[in-house]
Amino acid sequence: MSDKTTTPREITFRVRRFDPNVDAAPHWSEYRLNVYDGMTVLEALHEIKAQQEPTLSWRSSCRMGVCGSCGMFINELPMLACQTQVLHLGTDVVSIAPLPNYDNVKDLVPDLAPLIEKHAAVKPYIIYLDQIEIDEPTGEFLQTPDQREEFSQFTHCIKCGLCLAACPTVATDPLFLGPQALAQAYRYTADNRDCGLKDRIEAIDIFHGPYQCHLAGACSQACPKGVDPAFGIQLLKRALVLDSIGFGKKKSSVAKVSPLADVVKQIEEFAPPPRTVGK
């Protein structure tokens, strides 16, 4: 929340507007607003909408960097509007545009459909070869903290799409899978419960796959959750190279803690004694 006890500073917001019902191309509009210490770009947009321009459109939800809805191109960098404090930007004029590399639906609203489609294409789920075990599990999978650490960083992705907006390869190659999907492909490939690299390779080891990444690092710079997708892509490349020379993970390295039947038996063994009072 902004601190209204401090002296406000007048900031000019240059907002890119586009209404598909009226405009053939986007244009810029300027709004002046008194900004208080701690006020986020999202709060500023709400103020502008309430006081000056009721038709201004954007997408947002949680206001705390969890939902990933309010990604915008703020002062020429992709950021979450709810996590960006206006005065921390250090400029008297703040430019706000929709995320680049996505179709612009209206004003600051990008069409994130390609992000979700690419994410789905890399099979972002654990693939376990034994379908009977999946349908009728006989035990719990064992995963040590070290095994979890191998991919844990990449599970923090909130699918805000900032990384694709920052990626220079996505800018010219719309078919490039992009940092988000490739990092998620690594997240599941590195999981010791997964044995689906062979299945996943068809989707990721393609011309528009990880080797289009030349480590610009812009995705990792833009990521608001520290996921470091560029790192995930490099580790995915290594996994593909190792697999191609026969050193890849052949199958799931997961072990069972114990059969479920044994767990049930143990629970029965350690059950409290029967009540002797108040029967």
């Binding site: 220079p168 800018a171 959750k225």
Partner: protein, 146 residues
């Protein structure tokens, strides 16, 4: 199907998206340099084939062409070509090492302020770029002041 349905605006950055590195980090500029020098080297290879094909037009034509290449403007172009090759080769070594997972550290739970693999391998980046700069300077001194 409603033909008057409003259409979204194509907001893809295109060529500008990879040529303009803007406020991104040092590695983003290396990405640009790697692509530009790569394209330059491919263009040179094509020109080199055309150039050597001149030998078929006889000794006089060949020697005339070699005389042209000995002039100062061509020496500068040759130097730029050398610099592009050195940068592209050494930056390529850096990319190869990172693609095999070296010098990037290990994945770890992200804790704010976040550390990225890009920052962790930056010392290697600086060393390789310093080496490229040194070779380019030494190559220039031997080319212009033999």
């Amino acid at each position: 199907m409603n033909s008057n349905k409003p259409t979204a605006y194509n907001n893809r950055l295109g060529i500008k998206g990879w040529v303009y590195a803007g406020k991104y980090t040092f590695e983003r500029y290396l990405y640009l340099g790697h692509r530009l020098t790569g394209m330059g080297l491919i263009a040179y290879m094509l020109l080199h084939i055309i150039e050597t094909a001149n030998r078929m037009r006889g000794v006089e034509a060949w020697e005339g062409l070699m005389g042209l290449f000995a002039s100062w403007p061509f020496k500068i172009i040759e130097y730029l070509l050398f610099a592009a090759a050195v940068f592209h080769a050494l930056n390529g070594v850096r990319l190869l090492m990172t693609e095999l997972g070296f010098f990037l550290g290990k994945p770890k739970e992200p804790v704010y302020p976040y550390s990225s693999s890009i920052k962790r391998h930056r010392p290697l980046t600086y060393i390789i770029m310093a080496l490229a700069g040194l070779i380019i300077i030494l190559g220039g001194s031997s080319l212009f002041f033999p």
